[in-house]
């Protein structure tokens, strides 16, 4: 089903380059993944990987502040970046005749960032990030769900114990020295994958990449991830956190440790979440929303994380006045009964995931993102082409085995939100 073609090259300084021509439209997607995320943050500096991502847009030695966005927008391109647990990505999509513009900008900040940093820029972006945190977390009903669930699913010394956004105190205390140190440690060519997808000639594109990035020195391999990556397979009981807050409706979040993204059993967990909550014929929707009418909405997601264990999240929102115990009972019952999932249910879930995957590959920017991910995480960009087969090879037996092993009370974190007062 998937037949993306791509070449992979490595420059002398260690930068991995993935080139995937697709000349249907005169557009090119430039996508750069760095192997650094919130997992690499040391105690007292949570949120720093993300704050650093913001600093990457504050100019570099040859690019003044605001120039980066200006030139890409003027070229008719779109751009952004994001920080996650295991990586940080930067991306531009632009008319293909402007390819070198993106290479100029990305290489300049990979090679020459610290020269352009100053206290004023850091102060400015601390303010922006603190406002981002307020907008998405503090001023948002249920905004702290991930802080609460991660705390319960992973022990304090695990890299996924804290959130990507980090704490206000840590964000506020980040210094310019931290910026430079982080840059020298993690923003080295050997810790990055550059993927170009779209209207390009691979030979000429590689030449251009060599021209812009070749002069950046390799640097050392990044240090080990802080803390202890393997927390063991299970949480070891049912951990609870009950929150009375300014939320409109009662809601249950359930977390469980699952095999990491690199393990073949991850796909069974992933298919299990689709059986549970993807579409109207999913178990949680069919039972809790439609038949019993106790839930307003439901959801489930398997996080594709790398270190030791990943985690699965499921949630159920109740109607006003609903008893959270009833919501929890329904959610837990459906998850445990996954131990007898049928072949039809698995086939439905796989069919939906297949369509979604093909739709992601259809878009140049998300195809580039997937190629970067498979290259950075697994050293093989074209592993992407095996994703449909990996999904299809998940048997009902594998989902049953996964559910029996990992979805029981020995491996459960439950965060219960209860409205503080009736409206």
């Amino acid at each position: 089903m998937l037949s993306t073609e791509a070449q992979v090259h490595t420059l002398a300084n260690g930068l991995t380059v993935v080139l995937a021509p697709d000349t249907l439209t005169p557009v090119v997607a430039v996508n750069l993944w760095y192997g650094v995320g919130s997992r690499n943050e040391r105690p007292g500096r949570t949120g720093f990987a993300h704050l650093f991502e913001h600093m990457m847009f504050q100019g570099s030695a040859h690019v003044p502040k605001n120039r980066h966005f200006e030139v890409v927008e003027q070229a008719g391109g779109s751009l952004n970046a994001s920080t996650w647990f295991d990586r940080t990505n930067y991306f531009e999509t632009l008319p293909s005749h402007h390819l070198e513009l993106a290479l100029w900008l990305e290489s300049d900040r990979m090679g020459w960032l610290p020269e352009a940093m100053d206290e004023e820029k850091l102060e400015n972006q601390r303010g922006v990030v603190l406002n981002e945190r307020m907008q998405r977390y503090e001023n948002q009903p249920y905004g702290d769900w991930d802080e609460r669930i991660q705390r319960l699913v992973f022990p304090p010394d695990h890299p996924y114990h804290h959130t990507v956004i980090g704490s206000v105190e840590d964000i506020s205390s980040a210094s310019l020295a931290d910026v430079e140190d982080f840059f020298r440690t993690y923003y080295v060519p050997g810790n990055a994958v550059l993927t170009l997808v779209g209207d390009l000639d691979p030979g000429r594109a590689l030449e251009a990449v060599e021209r812009w990035f070749g002069g950046i020195p390799g640097g050392d391999a990044p240090p080990a991830i802080p803390g202890h990556p393997d927390p063991g397979p299970h949480i070891g009981g049912t951990q609870r956190d009950r929150v009375e807050a300014d939320v409109p409706l009662p809601r249950i979040y359930l977390g469980a440790r699952i095999p990491p993204f690199s393990h073949e059993d991850f796909y069974a967990a992933d298919v299990a979440t689709s059986v549970l909550a993807d579409g109207r014929a999913s178990r949680l929707y069919q039972r809790l929303v439609r038949e019993e009418g106790v839930a307003k909405d439901v959801g489930a997601f398997a996080f594709p994380l790398l270190h030791g264990r990943s985690f699965l999240l499921a949630w159920v929102t109740g109607y006003p006045g609903a008893d959270p115990a009833v919501l929890e009972e329904g959610l837990v019952r459906e998850m445990e009964s996954m131990a007898d999932v049928s072949a039809d249910e698995v086939a439905r879930a796989v069919a939906l995931e297949e369509t979604r995957l093909i739709r992601q590959v259809e878009q140049l920017a998300s195809r580039a993102d997937l190629l970067s991910m498979h290259q950075l995480y697994f050293g093989d960009a074209l592993r992407l082409n095996g994703e449909v087969d990996r999904l299809r090879s998940v048997t009902p037996e594998a989902v049953r085995r996964f559910a029996a092993a990992d979805l029981g009370p020995q491996n459960r974190a439950i965060v219960t939100y209860v409205p503080r007062e009736e409206l």
């Binding site: 100029w104 109207r280 014929a281 439609r290 069919a351 369509t355």
Partner: protein
């Protein structure tokens, strides 16, 4: 310090390569005998087909006391058909690896899907079954109603939604549909019955003034054959829509604070009536807006975010509906800098209207809009949705083919005059959702207009009164 090769000049952007042509394939057009417009665009990058069925069944066609009926009907449409229960229908679609997304707006109800090409025929059959033979079981309608009522409660505790909804209420007069929330109010939602939904479908889910868009690896001949099989004998045309009342911004300029005690941030909105989708000023306004607040490097974002660090971001845009629309400027700022951020915002608006943009800004905005245009027309799903938009607004199919040339014709003077004609900063209503106790003193000191504080619960009560 790392070195780059001597020939490389890093101090300025590299010269672009040779520009490559962008050709959007022509849209195949046909009309079925009963009036259903068929539009087909051939796109063969991946083996997918996306479809959009648009129906002249939007919320703006409803009187205020029936608000929410179009939305509830759309929500309940997948509750079952004459031959299948809701659960059986969901399974039939999802076993095909697809699902039906039904969205109801002011102007239309749109049913969209993406499936693999080999599964198009059975998917179209299910689409036709859902639209032409829905059964509206009472427990399904009841559930959809309860979900929408709970969603109202969610909006009442979400600061961004509170600010958006209040902005509509402040701007549009009581007898105007855009005054109310799209999905209706608690009172009107409670009134909807399965019979109302059936009557709505009978009256407005009709091929006349409706259309079906298909994008994927198929041609008009093949599409025509497949579509006629499912919709060939579908008949009827909905009643035309009437005129909407005129919108005059209230005077004196209202400054309304929706009180959220202890809020760490303020959601800020400035809102003004705007022109409909067919208005000739649309592209001039797009260029003006890109400079003011429609891009990352817009004046507002560079000021509020990149200079002052007041916010994660600020955006403005014009929303065009079939009849009328609005200009909306939105941001969220830390509580203690709210007045300062509002002063900067008003300063940027005043300066923009007084002096206008400079030529370089206009050139950059034109290039930006022309350049990003194809990036948003990439997937079969995006293309189908964009073509559906043309059908909803009764626009010619070459609109997108001409867009990039037309946007490049916008002049500095044209952009400025259009913006001046449509937005008056001296009277633009201001809505804030935040901690009124912390805000009112400073807002009064800004002297922008009488400051009024409202409670979120009052908003709902006002609707019920």
């Amino acid at each position: 310090m790392p070195r780059s090769s001597p020939a490389l000049d890093r101090s300025r952007p590299p010269e672009p390569g040779e520009i490559r042509p962008f050709h959007l394939p022509a849209v195949g057009e046909d009309r079925l005998p009963q009036g259903l417009e068929l539009r087909v665009l051939r796109e063969a990058r991946v083996p997918l087909v996306s479809g959009c069925l648009v129906l002249d069944a939007g919320e703006a066609s409803l009187d205020g006391d029936r608000a929410g009926l179009a939305v509830i009907t759309g929500d309940a449409l997948q509750g079952g058909t004459e031959v299948r229960s809701g659960a059986e229908l969901a399974l039939a679609l999802e076993q095909l690896g697809t699902s039906l997304n039904i969205s109801t707006g002011w102007d239309a109800t749109t049913l969209s899907f993406t499936c693999t090409a080999e599964r198009l025929e059975p998917t179209l059959a299910l689409l036709a079954e859902v639209v032409r033979r829905p059964s509206f079981p009472s427990d399904e309608v009841d559930r959809v109603r309860r979900q929408r009522l709970a969603a109202i409660r969610q909006r009442l505790m979400d600061p961004g939604s509170l600010a958006d909804d209040e902005a509509d209420r402040v701007l549009f007069p009581l007898d105007h549909p855009y005054h109310r929330p799209l999905a209706g109010t608690e009172t009107t939602i409670r009134r909807v019955t399965p019979d109302h939904a059936r009557e709505w479908v009978e009256a407005r889910y009709r091929p006349g003034r409706g259309g079906l868009v298909l994008v994927g690896d198929l041609d008009i001949v093949e599409a025509d054959r497949l579509v006629r099989r499912q919709f060939g004998d579908w008949e009827g045309t909905p009643e035309p829509r009437g005129e909407l009342p005129a919108v005059v911004p209230p005077r004196p300029r209202p400054v309304v604070v929706v009180h959220r005690p202890g809020a760490v941030q303020t959601e800020l909105r400035l809102v003004y009536p705007g022109p409909g989708r067919k208005h000739p000023d649309r592209l001039s306004l797009q260029v003006a807006n890109a400079i003011l607040g429609g891009a990352f490097t817009s004046r507002l974002n560079l000021n509020l975010r990149e200079r002052h660090g007041f916010t994660y971001g600020v955006r403005s845009n014009f929303t065009h509906r079939r009849r009328g629309g609005l200009f909306l400027l939105s941001t969220a700022v830390e509580t203690r800098v709210t007045a300062a951020a509002l002063r900067e915002t008003m300063g940027e608006l005043d300066r923009f209207v007084a002096e206008g943009p400079d030529d370089a800004e206009v050139a950059r905005a034109r290039d930006y809009l022309a350049g990003v245009f194809p990036l948003r027309m990439e997937t079969t799903g995006q293309l189908a949705a964009r073509i559906a938009e043309l059908l909803i607004h009764d626009l010619p199919m070459d609109e997108y083919h001409l867009y990039r040339d037309r946007i490049r014709e916008v002049t500095r003077e044209g952009a400025l005059q259009a913006f001046r004609a449509h937005v008056d900063p001296a009277s633009i209503p201001i809505v804030l959702c935040g901690d009124a106790e912390a805000l009112t003193g400073e807002l009064e000191a800004l002297d922008l207009g009488p400051v009024e504080v409202r409670l979120p619960t009052e908003l709902q009560d006002a609707e019920e009164a």
